[in-house]
Point group: none
Amino acid sequence: MSDNVADDVRGRAREAIRRSGLSQRQFAARLGIDPTKLSKSLTGTRRFTALELAGIADETGVTVNWLLNGRDDAETVSAAPRDSSAVRPPPASLADHPGAAREHNRKLQIIEAAWTLIAEHGYHSVRVAQVARACGTSSATVHYHFPTLEHLLVEALRHSVKQAFDRQVAGLHTVGDPYERLLRLIELQLPGSDRLRLEWSIWLQVWTAAALNPEMRELHAASYRRWHETIARTLREGKESGVFGDFDVEEMTRRLTALIDGLGIQVMTGMPGRSVDHMRDTLRSVIDRDVLGH
Amino acid sequence: MSDNVADDVRGRAREAIRRSGLSQRQFAARLGIDPTKLSKSLTGTRRFTALELAGIADETGVTVNWLLNGRDDAETVSAAPRDSSAVRPPPASLADHPGAAREHNRKLQIIEAAWTLIAEHGYHSVRVAQVARACGTSSATVHYHFPTLEHLLVEALRHSVKQAFDRQVAGLHTVGDPYERLLRLIELQLPGSDRLRLEWSIWLQVWTAAALNPEMRELHAASYRRWHETIARTLREGKESGVFGDFDVEEMTRRLTALIDGLGIQVMTGMPGRSVDHMRDTLRSVIDRDVLGH
Amino acid sequence: MSDNVADDVRGRAREAIRRSGLSQRQFAARLGIDPTKLSKSLTGTRRFTALELAGIADETGVTVNWLLNGRDDAETVSAAPRDSSAVRPPPASLADHPGAAREHNRKLQIIEAAWTLIAEHGYHSVRVAQVARACGTSSATVHYHFPTLEHLLVEALRHSVKQAFDRQVAGLHTVGDPYERLLRLIELQLPGSDRLRLEWSIWLQVWTAAALNPEMRELHAASYRRWHETIARTLREGKESGVFGDFDVEEMTRRLTALIDGLGIQVMTGMPGRSVDHMRDTLRSVIDRDVLGH
Amino acid sequence: MSDNVADDVRGRAREAIRRSGLSQRQFAARLGIDPTKLSKSLTGTRRFTALELAGIADETGVTVNWLLNGRDDAETVSAAPRDSSAVRPPPASLADHPGAAREHNRKLQIIEAAWTLIAEHGYHSVRVAQVARACGTSSATVHYHFPTLEHLLVEALRHSVKQAFDRQVAGLHTVGDPYERLLRLIELQLPGSDRLRLEWSIWLQVWTAAALNPEMRELHAASYRRWHETIARTLREGKESGVFGDFDVEEMTRRLTALIDGLGIQVMTGMPGRSVDHMRDTLRSVIDRDVLGH
DNA sequence: TATGAATGAGGATTCATTCAT
DNA sequence: AATGAATGAATCCTCATTCAT
């Protein structure tokens, strides 16, 4: 990746932070990183970590894809969103008039509180008052930003999708080798951390919702397609570059994603003998045998 | 299978039907089969089909395992329930005073109505009034039989487990060859029919519930263990008899169940390119390659 | 009116009271009359007053028309309802199983509380909790009987119509002379008593609602037609019998009703110089001049 | 009416338009008339029509009475307002610093939006946000101009009264003959046009409000008195000049206003057989018979 | 002058559950 | 065994109003 590209990333990051209306110091605090590090990264002395990229995207409402490539729809390691409905409006539109950043943040805060509550207690157990309390505000305020609880919850689900995507783009864009990338991809998806367990919780719920409600299938399909494509692209690259064996990429993708989902369920439901480590081992062994062809 | 065994099955079937308080004619009608066929099966001229066995178990409140083996905890093709909480009370206890059958039936009717509603609309969307309406009765009546909505719903989930198990026992007890049995097992689990799609819907919901709520893990674990054991037993038999290749049975079971679950999700959520046929093909190909060792 | 007719009225009154599930003593108490008087009227020693007839109709859910004529749709002094939607179900259907009377009464109680509140505070200011409080019950109970506040309010309006009609039939059925009947009719409609002021309040509101909302026109039209017909019938009889002068009955009806309404508004809005007495005088003078032709 | 008077009208019109801060061209556009016509009327070549007078009054916040007579309280064809509360502040006060006109206009715009919404949806259904939307502004802005929704609504009602009065003064000031004026008066009040139907809708609502709420009676009485006086004055003039027959003016006024109101209700509630034409015919026939004495 | 954000005070409705019959 | 009536306890949503900017 050339220096020019890195330059651009810095420029866009600076731009996004500027639009947020926060100072660098404040912004660093919000990301939970050292202000010096942020400063260095913005001037070019230091690279952004994947986590920082995802954080900047999250806080400013842009995508990591845009930070890295200047476009939301760039197809790199992962599939771009097929339609705009699945992601937030393009970055240029927000801010420019004061207050927009604040507004965006309050909205984001509510969405994230809702997201966490869904993940922890389940979609149907989330109460408006709970979300409000988690944000230190009132139910009416939640309704000021979202017409309906359902709107909020769906928005929270969308947000979840965006976040997972951002995390992948941020975490994978520097990994060139397909095999490494595949392992990294899996590592990024394993329900190991609290955060990732919450994301898996959301996934399970989206599956259930999609099975019951045709309307939810759309949301599910849009996000699942990305995940599918991220895997498929890597498999294809590995196959074409000869790193991987010969196989039907689509079919292998279906098997791998199914296996990941199925193992994830076993971990999430606390089945005896199914741990994250076991999940990792199983997937590696399957990849080594069926993908690499060893 | 010797005639003696068949004799016993007939005897227990006759016994169970007698306890139901219905005439053979009525009972046949309820099963949706020809009275003549039922009569022949009960006198020995004809064998019960798997469907009929499951139906008799369902209607009379006994397990297929009991019908076939005289005991609920017989370990045959599948694992027996580890504790009594996972299944209905033993068959001997019910019905001895008149009306018990009717009561049992009303209760069963409510459970099945609840079950269907859960499967169709989702656990959290089931209302007592809805269940009552589906049964042509009142909310108060539902509460007469079940102290709490939650009790009813959990009971409905248990019922689901029992049914799946019965279906497996009934469908597999005649299949001797491990490979055939494995394929049959998968066939019995594919979300092909309406009924099975409903059962899958329930599964997805139980997974979600178990991921969110530790209490639900118990129910999930109990039923999943059976399913796991049913697969494992077959794999073990095939491995020991040399029909299958050499592999770690537990690990292979984990992989297979994970794959089945993952593929099931893809079908249930209506992912493009994931059909029941694709699911069957994928599983067969994996079995042929990894289990048979071809 | 022959004794036979009076016999029948007594019979039907006895029947209606019997169905209410209350004893004669209780019923008399509810009507607010002396039990002895009720008893005498039921045995034929005494005639029912108009007020009593209306009360019996109100409490038992039948119409005065039915009490007097055995049919709801009898056309006597007033027009019968054109469609069943405007009145309560036929008398035979209710009661017969115990509790029906009680239920009917609770429902009626709620309707009347709502009616009074509408009349006093206005349709849009009536709160479910208010109605509940007025009935000494809970909001949930109100909703048990009426799905929606709006349903309740519309029902209350219908009830108002029925009551006015009952009062007219009860008050006019003995008055044979058209002129006397016309004066009586007006007297029955004058906003003199508290009760009648409340009824006028409701009328004003129905007019407003009908002007704003096409759906309300139906309700208004149904009830206004009766009122119109009650006047028209009397005018027609008077004209045909030569008591009145010669005029276009329909046109005169329109003028009279319009004048009554307009004068009623002036009284109700407390215009200086517009009292009930003035209203009576004006109407009498118009009738004497334009209807009698003096 | 002498030229001097006409001169004065022109002068005051010019004055009022000047204060509005708009150019003649702009003002004409706002009135929806040809700028040439406005110009001619302002220079004396042409007379203002009644519509134009009312429009000028409306747009500039003065009364037609002031335009015609230089005083708000001139008693001409109609009664003057008894207290200042019933009309806008005197014209001299407003506009002197730039922007006052604009402010006045924004306020007027809000009032008229509120007025229309009341007329169309009913007093109790008007929401601040609705008014704001209709004005292309925000709820907060509405509250900047009016402390309370109720204040705004009451203001809108006052505005309604002023408008009706203006229209009458403008429409009647040239009609000398009492009979003609009476017919004209009725014509001006018939719910024939959209605008007039809206005004009637407001009337009905004011009646209802006045019947329910003593506070509203004041507003109602003030405006009704004018209407009463407008009729009474004309009747008196006609009686004194011998054009009309002999009658009690007050009593005849009461009857006529009551009849108009009652007929208006019948039209507004969409009663079958009650049209605007029927209303006109009925009123003419009553006037011919009872007022003219034919 | 204008307004985006926020919110307190309702207010209708839902629904599991109880209980007398 | 069954149920009609009743209700407490949520819970979502509305909306006028405030206030900092």
